[in-house]
Structure formats: C-alpha cells, structure tokens
C-alpha cells in the first residue's frame, strides 16, 4: 500500500492510498479519515460507498463527514466505484452509468467485464482485509453507508453479511436495480440475461428472499431528479414493512441528489452510526 497523501484535518488525518488489487487486477485508490485517538486505540469504522461517476475524492472533498467522525471517534473509509486504467473495458459509448465509475458493487460474470469488475469481492473482502491490517480499526464495530449506486452497495453488502455491520444507512439509494433503468443496464451487462442472478444484488429482492437487517436509516430528497425513475424508495418501504425491518425513511423536502444534499445529512448519519458503534 502506497500513501498518496496524508493531510491533517479536524484533528485527525485524511489520507489517500493506492494499492495493487488482486481482485480488480488494477491499482485501486481509496481514502481513509482517522480521527485523533489514544495510542494503541482501535476505532469503529464506517464504510462509505460512492455513487455513479464518483471516485473516493467526491465524498472526501465534499462529504463534510470529518467534523462528525472526529467528534465520534469513527474512521471513515471511501473506496473507488470501479476499476480504472487503460486496460479496463468501459461502456462502448463512454456513458457515465456503466463501466468506469459504475462498478455497481458486483463481481461481473460476463465477458469482457469479469476480468476487472470485481467490486463486490473488493469492497467485502480485499479492501477490508487491507484496512484491518493497515489502520487502527476495530473490525467488530463496523457500519456501512453509501449514496445512490453506493447506497445500493451498502444495503446489499449489509443484507448479505448478517452480523458484520452494527449499523446500515443510505443516502438516496438504488433499492431495486432489477426494476429500474440504471440497474437493468448494469446488471444485464455485468451478470448476464438470467435475472435470477440479479436477486443477490437487489436489496428489495434480497429482503423478499429472506435477508434481514436489524434496522435501517435512509434519507432521500424529494426534489431528487432520479426519485421516481431510478430510486423508488417506496419499493424499499414496502419490502421492509412486509419483512418487519424497522426502516426510518426520511423524504427531505427540497433536496436533490448532489453532495449539497448528502453533506446536509452526513453528520446526522455519522451520529446515528456512532450511537450504534460506540455502544
């Protein structure tokens, strides 16, 4: 692991790191904020999975999480959203909703995507092992959150790893990719035409199939331009109601899909996770 940069911020250290990923076959860059802490202390860790087009940098620069993480003593890790590099295949028309910047947190099973697009294994296994080895994290106190495609990632990762995360939340998540255009394009390309394979990467389907979370916090702006077509929070609401999962779904009046929305509620989410991670 190579240190790209480390800068003091809010009493802690905001770092950016690069490593050669065995899963993606590429170099991967991620950011970690480590608050000030007592020597030898292990801190809870909050995973933040980013949305379409983003790298680690968007939330690192615009997420406004450091003040709250510093106060709560929580490490925040932000991975990239796809493999990158000259040899990595991309959408044939360079679209922003598939390929580079749009890994959708799956292990692709189709050609040519399967060689590099292994973001599921990357964020659930390879990167956590690296982070556990290199940073003062208490891996028994993990939370996960994310935005849009990364909200989809956070929910599916948490649903399929019962007990790993003490807390799960999301900002404007894609909750049912099988039922919306973004997900249809991504999953059909990465996983093939057999839609039964998609259910393992669809939060609503996972809940229908029996996956459970102890509770869930979701914020979404009611002025989000993707609300009706891509996000469909009512599908998550129905699935959670049917499954008895306590969901706090907040429709935030007037907010859109941007980091101006995310940053408005980031401190809220960090504190909500902190209550559960610092118990």
């Amino acid at each position: 692991m190579e240190t790209v940069s480390e800068v003091k911020s809010h009493g802690g250290v905001q770092g950016v790191y690069r490593h050669a990923s065995a899963e993606t076959g590429t170099d991967m860059v991620f950011s970690v904020f480590v608050p000030a802490h007592a020597p030898g202390a292990k801190l809870p860790v909050l995973w933040y999975l980013s949305g379409l087009t983003c790298t680690h940098a968007n939330v690192t620069e615009k997420g406004e999480f450091r003040a709250a993480c510093a106060e709560a003593g929580i490490i925040l890790v932000a991975p990239d959203t796809s493999p990158r590099g000259e040899g990595v295949p991309d959408d044939s028309e360079g679209a922003w909703d598939f390929g580079l910047g749009a890994g959708f947190y799956v292990d692709a099973t189709t050609t040519p995507w399967s060689a590099n697009y292994r973001m599921w294994s990357y964020v659930t296994a390879e990167l956590p092992a690296l982070v556990a080895d290199q940073f003062p994290v208490d891996m028994d106190r993990q939370g996960i959150t994310g935005h849009s495609m990364g909200g989809h990632g956070a929910l599916t990762v948490a649903l399929r790893h019962p007990g790993r995360f003490r807390s799960t939340s999301a900002f404007a998540p894609i909750v049912a990719p099988s039922q919306v255009p973004w997900g249809d394009k991504a999953l059909s390309n990465y996983l093939g035409a057999d839609r039964s394979a998609w259910r393992a990467h669809d939060s609503v389907a996972l809940i229908e199939d029996g996956a459970r979370l102890p509770e869930l916090l979701v914020d979404i702006g009611d002025a989000d331009p993707f609300f009706e077509r891509e996000l469909k929070p009512e599908l998550l609401e129905q699935a959670c109601a049917d499954a008895g999962i306590p969901l706090t779904l907040r429709r935030q009046a007037g907010y859109d899909h941007s980091y101006y929305f995310i940053s408005s509620f980031m401190a809220d989410h960090v504190r909500w996770h902190a209550e559960r991670l610092n118990r």
Copy 2:
C-alpha cells in the same frame, strides 16, 4: 444578475450567480449561501475572499461553512479572485500566482492590467451593492474573512473601511505583501514600481500607517508550506502589538495551507463572527 444554480443545502439555499461587472468589464461569478430564515428577515453577511488559483467554487464545495452559517443564520458570499475571459490578460507564462485567479484585491494602475483587474472596487463597492439589492442581507451587520491572498484581501478591505465590518478574521493570510515574493510580483505588476502605492494594499503597512481594527482572529497551520516565505504571521503579530490591536493568532499544529485546514476551523470562525454579528 443571472442564476447559475440554486441548490438546497443545510436547510438553506446555496446559489451561484453571474453578472456583467462594470468594474472588471467581464462577467463575474459568485456564490451566496442563504440560510433558512423568517419571511422578510434580513440576515448578517459574512464575506469570504478566496486565495490564489481559486474561484467561488473552492470554498463553496470544500469550505464546510454551511452547517455553521445555517445554525447562526448568517449569509456567506464568496466572490471570484480575478476577472476571467478570453480578452483578459494573464501572466505571460501562465503562472498561478499572478493574473487569472490572482487579482490580489487591488485596482491595477498599469497597462495591460488596469482595464480588467479592478478587484478592489469589485469586492468593496460593486458586488456589495448587488448583494444588498438582491439578497436578504442586513448591511449593518457585515463580517469579512478570507484565505491566503483572500486573507490579505479581507484584512486590507477591513482596515480601509473602518466601521463597515463588525468582525474580521483570516485563514493563513498574506499579511505583508510588500515584503514577500507573491506580493512583490503582484503589486509591482498591478501597481507599478513605486512601492509607496503598495502600502494601501499591505496590512502591516496599513497598521503602521495608522489603520486600526477593534480585534482580529487569525488561524495558520504550522505545517503550512508558505508559512515562512509568504505568510510571515510574526509581522502581523508585531504590527498589532505595536498598534494595540487585539490579535488572536493561533498557530495550528500540523495543519497545511489547504481546504483540509480551512474546513477544520471554518465553523470556529463562523461562530466567532456570529457572536459579533448577532449581538
């Protein structure tokens, strides 16, 4: 005035606006955050002047001021740092410390700069008049701050407008441009070789020449790479001591010159201004 964008954030509206500036002879872009407020209310306004290379966007995206401004009910205005456009002359070698992005908050008196580089009149007269006309600001309750070159701007503007600002602070300001390379390059080009003309744009010289502020808050990182060569806070410390200006100068251990530093202390500054603006 044209609205470039308006986005809800932290309960208020983060806007970006464009207007044709009579002073610079160009279109100018600036950002304004207006917190939620009662209909008809007039809010205090905090001016934030940015540093070398910046536009309004740097602090707007990375400054982390909105939570604190929303809590205190303070409007924040962030102008650009120079005129821009195809007809605007730039540094002959495209250097980042002069010309575009580096107006130094002076009215240039030399050719070819004097036609467009009128940032002093822009930030002290033209833009305040526009803001007073277009936004719910209480112009009797103004504060000013800035970073680096913008810290220089904030200090010189406040020193030369006694009574206009109830509160003045700065992040890592250039306090004595006449005595450092950045300032020497900028002032000799914009104002000419006669150094006596520079004193009106040099905070330490202005204080030596009798300008006063009721008090002053300055933060600077002790790991700032420009600390010794360009910033020289000890010169401000000495001038304030000699003049009896109460200066709170905080050397922040381990911090650099970036927005990771600024954002760490932004809420502190906003609250400090709020105490004085909301009295």
